[in-house]
Symmetry: C2
Subunit: 316 residues, 2 copies
């Protein structure tokens, strides 16, 4: 029996590096093409069985993938691929276990920078001022993690390493290792009370759209810093800017925005106590993601269940 | 038999808080006095049996403590008390296990700020620039820790949590949990090769005086950042400033200096890639240190060995 050959299209900012890494694995029966730009992608898609892609690059063209049998995302946030894959009735696989350490670095970088006054100390140095600013140890500070997927759990365990008191909020409220207490969704008010830091690491779904608004920030309270590493569409940005201006929150750290790049007119750029970063808290390093594709390809060919398959009904 | 009463003098910037915490422990047979300033200390010292003190506050007056039986330091760095206690032939106890977590926070704050470009990103935000700066994950970066006392070991384990590859250098070269490889002093050149970060957490002794000079920085190499949380007298400051100006080191983070406050004329303030902090990487929080004094007092009264006793010959 002649071996079947499948066509893989790679559509990623890091297309060449993915091609190099996948080629190096010498996967049997795989023909590999790198799509250059949207038109090239649209031309190639109808003949492809497999797609390895940055979601934002392919979301608009996916309907043309009539022969597609499987899509592997290079990112954690797959919401733009869920609907097309559902319509095409093909599996969509994500990336898990890779972004947790990177998001933990990001979260701890900002918590430590805030608590240890790094920006103020840098300004002191610039004017040759020797000024000891009082600070708190992280040990004993209260941190809440919303969303206890692989990213949220890694952040929780990292915070616990520094002696922070960690609580979690999840759909189920099920216990999670490294989290002192997990609250179910219905008890959000209790979960939010008395937090020093709130880290939101939620997938984008109909239920999480715009959940961080004025009412949420009022519950969170003025000693808390709000950190969002989930999705920009979850935040009502004007209401966050207003809460910060009125001193109703201690601060905020945002990596994701409703529109990216963030428009120059956004009130977020200059909101007091707000630190913003250009959606790069967790870079998708091909050397971390390619092994997931390679393992999944082997499973796909063998007819075994794929790793990190997205529940297309639930949306993550 | 009438219980013996001993006089404790507290000489600390946080004298009142120490007095409150020690009083709350209701230690038997203890009369407590708080010294206000140097003259008051000198007047009270001759009648005291026990001293709980910030080293810098009492070093010059300690000779007057003719009745002293024991000195408890509130800080990790005790070098200024070693000689007087040796002459008085009384035990000196330090603080261990308290500063490790604080120094780890400090070290990770700066490593993360450097790797994640926090200062540059803050400047981008100020001019409303959306700019994604490439970065590395901490996982796989090479960090070396010089001095594997309780502080160095905590830093090593924290770096390991972030996936950094950790090596150590110590007097003995003995294996330490959480450190991939420990080099003995004689193999410093090999220890230094290829490091991304070097954290120095050494006590001040005759042997560590001025050990960080031009030759050391040349060995460390241009991809490395030098972080000193030990003592300022260990660094030849002009040579460090020169190595940075000439691009022979990637950067430096200094919390301690030969003269403190650092003189305004020091070349360190404006050395490229240098981050300096005013000797507060690990604040001595009375609520952390007081329990050590309280436990040691109970041991002292019972004639048991004291915790964290300094070897007065070795100097730490």
């Amino acid at each position: 029996m002649a071996a079947l050959t499948r066509t893989l299209i790679i559509a990623s900012e890091d297309g060449n590096e993915y091609a190099r890494l996948v080629r190096a694995a010498r996967l049997p029966g795989l023909r590999l093409e790198v799509a250059r730009g949207v038109r090239d992608l649209r031309a190639r898609l109808p003949a492809a069985q497999i797609l390895l892609a940055d979601p934002a690059r392919v979301a608009g063209a996916l309907e043309r993938g009539r022969a597609l049998e499987w899509v592997q995302s290079t990112w954690a946030g797959v919401e733009r691929l869920v609907e097309p894959c559902r319509r095409l009735r093909i599996p969509l696989t994500g990336v898990r276990g890779v972004f947790g350490p990177l998001i933990s670095e990001y979260v701890m970088a900002y918590i430590l920078a805030i608590e240890r006054h790094l920006f103020e100390t840098r300004a002191d140095q610039a004017r040759r001022a020797w000024r000891q600013r009082p600070y708190r140890s992280l040990a004993g500070l209260e941190i809440g993690v919303m969303g206890l997927g692989s990213i949220g759990r890694h952040v929780a365990r990292t915070a616990a390493w520094f002696g922070m008191r960690v609580r979690g909020l999840s759909y189920s409220g099920r216990r999670v290792r490294g989290v002192e207490r997990v609250y179910p969704r219905g008890r959000a008010a209790e979960f939010l009370r008395g937090l020093d830091y709130l880290v939101a690491a939620l997938p984008m779904t109909a239920e999480t759209e715009s959940i961080f608004g004025a009412r949420f920030f009022a519950r969170l309270g003025r000693r808390a810093v709000f950190i969002n590493v989930g999705r920009g569409g979850q935040v009502v940005e004007e209401e966050l800017a207003r809460a910060l201006r009125r001193g109703r929150l201690r601060g905020a750290v945002l990596d994701v925005f409703r529109r990216e790049p963030l428009p120059r007119a956004s009130p977020l750029w200059s909101a007091p106590g707000l630190f913003l970063t250009p959606h790069n808290a967790a870079a998708s390093f091909p050397r971390s993601v390619a092994p997931i594709f390679i393992e999944n390809y082997r499973r796909f060919v063998a007819g075994k269940p794929l790793l990190h398959e997205v529940d297309l009904e639930r949306g993550y």
